[in-house]
């Protein structure tokens, strides 16, 4: 299922445009199994669009994506989910009307075998299956330390906890590839520490490959094994944190000190 060099996902020459606006042009990089790959860049660089392309929400108009060794044509989101790709969103896409536990249980849906009739009767098999999945969800709840709010409707939770619940829902699917879109946005220092710890634990304990969009450079440098840098929809650097930190193009575009006012509308 993997190609020989341990590459889980390969993106080649992907280009995406909305009407007249180019979001991505000729982006190529790969993600190796088991690594934490950060995608960084200024606002509007196309990072979220890249994740959306990977999990099938947007269809690129050129380029190729290879996942687990097979070229995937256009995967619709639920097919991506079935193939083991899970993700979180910048603006939190939780089901606000449901509790924490229910939200995480929805992440288990792909692993559930039943149908509505069995549900309606709620006899032996349905009950046992529900309990088994509940056990998995509870392990995740324990891992993320959100036991206290398991029965609270997520709409009422503070922002930081909502982000954790969203991570829990993604984890519940036992994904091979986890896409995290700014998981630390809006968090204070302690919350970021907790979240970083969770991300590292997920990667180390479960071996989940992680692709991570993040703006906090400290977090990025500490967590990731390799980094891709995007700017204006193009890749401008690709390498280890050390390499990227000292790359002149990256310093000019994003990290850097003085640069002229060419940001324009995308800044």
């Amino acid at each position: 299922m993997l190609s020989g060099d341990g590459v889980l996902l390969k993106v080649e020459g992907v280009a995406l445009a909305f009407g007249g606006v180019t979001a991505l042009s000729d982006v190529s990089f790969d993600i190796r199994r088991g690594e934490i790959r950060a995608i960084i860049g200024p606002n509007g660089a196309g990072k979220s669009s890249m994740l959306n392309v990977i999990n099938g929400f947007y269809r690129p108009h050129s380029g190729r994506i290879t996942y687990k060794g097979r070229t995937v044509g256009h995967m619709r989101p639920h097919q991506a989910a079935k193939a083991g790709i899970a993700r979180t969103f910048q603006n939190i896409a939780l089901f606000k009307g449901m509790t924490t536990l229910d939200n995480i249980m929805t992440g288990r849906l792909l692993k559930m075998r039943g149908n509505f009739l069995l549900d309606a009767l709620h006899v032996g098999p349905a009950q046992r299956e529900e309990a088994a999945h509940r056990a998995v969800a509870e392990r995740i709840i324990e891992f993320l330390e959100i036991q206290a709010v398991r029965k609270v409707p997520v709409g009422r939770l503070p922002y930081g906890l909502q982000k954790r619940v969203e991570l829990g829902r993604a984890l519940a699917a036992e994904p091979d590839l986890l896409l995290l879109d700014e998981p630390m946005a809006g968090m204070n220092f302690e919350e970021k520490e907790d979240m970083s710890r969770f991300i590292l634990d997920v990667n180390e304990e479960f071996g989940t490959t992680i692709a991570l969009i993040e703006h906090d450079m400290g977090v990025v440098m500490d967590l990731s094994s390799r980094i891709v840098v995007l700017d204006y929809g193009r890749k401008i650097a690709d390498g280890t944190p050390e390499e990227v930190r000292h790359d002149q193009a990256v310093i000019d575009a994003y990290l850097g000190v003085a640069h002229d006012d060419e940001r324009g509308a995308w800044g």
């Binding site: 929400f57 896409a93 709620h122």
Partner: protein, 359 residues
């Protein structure tokens, strides 16, 4: 002090997921069931049994159906009346074409046919969302009623246009429809349908099926991304909902009004059921019952209260007041408590847990 959960811990996930995890609730439910089956028929008179309880159970079924579609799956439908008509007329055709078949099977079959029709009208729901879907269901409503009025085949070519439901008995002897039907039998019959189907509904909504529906309701884009297939989930909601509504329609025609008329299922009926679930509580099984009870009892209350107070009010005034109260209540509940009477009930239980202490 009566309603404390002290000492009651769920020791298995199955126990925690039970419908009534708290012992007092289980006891209360048992008492309710016993009262409903044994005490009420003994105590209540025919008027109450036939004209209050029977429509209450039938409306509860319809409200359950619509709540599944609109409250849980978030698909607004204004076609409830039309689907009730499908159930009623299908039951009629089946009952008259196959007189030997047990009436329970006839109703279930009518429900299944309605489910298929609901499936058909639900197909646009992938492309059409939210409020526009409501307009598509209006198409269903007006078309279906027209169909049953115009196509004489549905009325078995009756010359007068008035069709009565044929007499049928359960267990050979106990007539639930037709002139020999006893009020108590009608009561038990509709009660059982309502109870069994409510249990099935509760099981569905607290399991994976319900979670899929609620995910689609809350954010269907995110639902798709975690692997839920939107079209099949929505179609399932239409099918199950229509099943319930179809049976409600058949029961309405055969057991309550004893006649099968399309005009009983017009757009006002659709609005009426919608009001039940808004007032009772969207996305709540209990709410469906509470809303149905409210709508059934309000006109009676309005009719009788002035008499009790010694005032004389005309029928027209009562109807107008009713409309005004409905309208005002809808707005009130949407603003103040969108989860309806069911939420008020839960809040009341919370208070009861603390009683007699204030906090």
């Amino acid at each position: 002090m009566l309603y404390r959960e002290v000492g009651q811990f769920a020791t298995s996930y199955a126990a925690d997921q039970a419908i009534f995890p708290i012992r007092q609730d289980r006891f209360g439910m048992l008492v309710l069931v016993l009262v409903a089956y044994l005490a009420v028929p003994l105590v209540a008179n025919e008027y109450w049994l036939s004209t209050i309880f029977v429509p209450f159970f039938v409306f509860s079924l319809a409200a359950l159906g619509l709540n599944i579609l609109t409250g849980y799956a978030g698909l607004l439908s204004l076609g409830t009346g039309g689907f009730m008509a499908v159930g009623a007329f299908t039951a009629y055709k089946l009952a008259t074409a196959f007189p030997g078949i047990n009436i329970v099977l006839v109703f279930v079959a009518a429900g299944i046919v309605t489910a298929l029709v609901g499936l058909l009208f639900g197909i646009p729901s992938l492309r059409i969302k939210g409020f526009y879907l409501a307009v598509a269901t209006l198409a269903a409503q007006f078309f279906l009623i027209w169909l049953f009025v115009r196509i004489a085949w549905f009325q078995n070519y009756s010359p007068s246009g008035v069709i009565t439901a044929p007499p049928r008995a359960v267990f050979g002897h106990f007539f639930v429809t037709g002139p020999e039907a006893r009020a108590a039998y009608k009561y038990w019959f509709t009660l059982t349908f309502a109870a069994v189907l409510a249990l099935a509904a509760k099981n569905m909504v607290r399991g994976a099926t319900g979670r899929k529906w609620m995910a689609i309701r809350d954010m269907d884009i995110a639902a798709e991304i975690i692997g839920i297939r939107p079209l099949s989930t929505k179609l399932l909601a239409f099918a199950v909902s229509s099943f319930y509504i179809g049976i409600a329609g058949a029961l309405w025609a055969f057991i309550y009004t004893a006649s099968v008329e399309a005009s009983a299922f017009d757009i006002d009926r659709s609005f009426q059921i919608l009001f039940m679930i808004i007032i009772g509580g969207l996305g709540s099984i209990l709410g469906s019952f509470l809303g149905a009870a409210f709508i059934v009892l309000l006109p009676i209350f309005l009719n009788n209260l002035p008499n009790q107070l010694g005032l004389h009010v005309g029928v027209a005034l009562v109807t107008n007041l009713q409309d005004m109260i409905y309208g005002a209540l809808i707005v009130f509940f949407l603003i103040a408590e969108p989860n309806g009477l069911a939420a008020l009930w839960r809040a009341g239980k919370e208070k009861l847990r603390l009683w007699p202490f204030p906090h």
